[in-house]
Symmetry: C2
């Protein structure tokens, strides 16, 4: 597969696509990384491989604000330090994470929209973008839910590992099919909050998959299920 | 596929297997029907076809006590009449259903054990039973959970559409992989009860799949997922 790095309006990203094949008309998956991760972190690269090698799709990832190659503000630095201290002290972090990441999502959503516009214009055959999916858990979903609510080009989404009352309103405006992952023993995301967020999603077609284990222990089988879900909703690549 | 009816100690059942192929060593799925249904109801026959035609497994179904061809006691008659009245009146039914079906499960569990013994002895090649799975929702799970807790031959189970505190103890003794289905808008099973029952399952490997819709609206995709789950855990037929 071909991997191309780019910078758009100061936001570093990476685009993957099958070798020698056009982007136009091809299903495209937006990969949102988790907190503390970045566009070329192992989770992102693994999903890009699944999208491109197994499904024949294209995939794109961006560094979220304050992540990867992007500058960290004083607030980002404070967040990164303090979250470790709170977790180490066994204190609840979800309300505090929600506040910080909601501010981050407000910046990230228009960045994703700009990337979609640029990729749409980039297409060499002027066919325009194919069907677009979103695949991002945890911080990826904090960004992806308001993105899917605002951006009609997103046709299906894999969300999960998140759930705070501040996300309810945007979730209600999501109308596309969603596969939502929950880790039963997630110490970072209260179970009730994740269940309520799933309930709040406005989608007629949505499915919740819950498994034992902590925030970082999503089973391999769920990655395969997410892959099938995206293949089902974005269609087959030519 | 071959369909054979039988009666064992007064319990009517049906056995499905691939035409002309032996039972011995072949994965076998026990199909537990829902309340008011029976061994040859549409749900049971559909699952038997999936097991036999698609997976090459054998499958067996029994009429639960008070169902199908079995005599109904005065209590069964009263239950069948009153549940309709309660639902029509919009009254909560789960505690009352739990009480009635728990008594039914106490009778049904030894009947399933007897069927396993008989099929084990029946095998013409003296190979014995292959790996055994259980697939039953609602009343099927009310029976299947204490069965899986008590019967070491059950190696994997699809449960769901149930959840009452009276099932917690048996659920804790289930140790095999479980796929558990929940309908988000189930008017017969309170969501909290179903979530708590999933949480109580003793299995290290368990997965919850929740979808919008009522008790009888399990999506087709979940039948396919259950099929994959059983194929994964019971192995391929020869």
């Amino acid at each position: 597969m071909t991997q191309r790095r780019f910078i758009l309006d100061g936001v570093p990203g990476v685009l993957w696509q099958p070798d020698g094949l056009p982007l136009g008309g091809r299903p495209l998956v937006l990969l949102g990384h988790g907190g503390g991760q970045h566009k070329l972190g192992p989770g992102s690269v693994d999903r890009a491989r699944r999208c491109v090698r197994r499904l024949g799709f294209a995939a794109v990832a961006l560094d979220a604000p304050g992540h990867g190659e992007r500058p960290r503000s004083a607030q980002d630095e404070r967040f990164a330090t303090e979250i470790g201290e709170l977790i180490a002290a066994g204190r609840p972090v979800s309300a505090w994470v929600a506040r910080h990441t909601a501010a981050l999502a407000e910046r990230a959503v228009p960045e994703w929209v700009a990337v979609l516009d640029a990729l749409d214009a980039l297409d060499e055959r002027a066919e325009g973008l194919g069907p677009v999916g979103f695949w991002g858990l945890s911080l990826g979903s904090v960004v992806g839910i308001p993105l899917a609510a605002a951006e009609p080009r997103v046709a299906a989404a894999v969300f999960g590992l998140t759930g705070h009352a501040s996300q309810t309103e945007a979730a209600g405006r999501v109308g596309v099919p969603v596969e939502f992952l929950l880790q039963w023993d997630d110490a970072l995301v209260p179970r009730e909050g994740a269940l309520a967020l799933f309930g709040a999603l406005g989608s007629r077609e949505k499915t919740l998959h819950a498994n034992p284990g902590g925030h970082l222990e999503v089973p391999e089988l769920e990655l395969e299920s997410s892959e099938r879900f995206l293949a089902r909703h974005l269609g087959r690549a030519e």
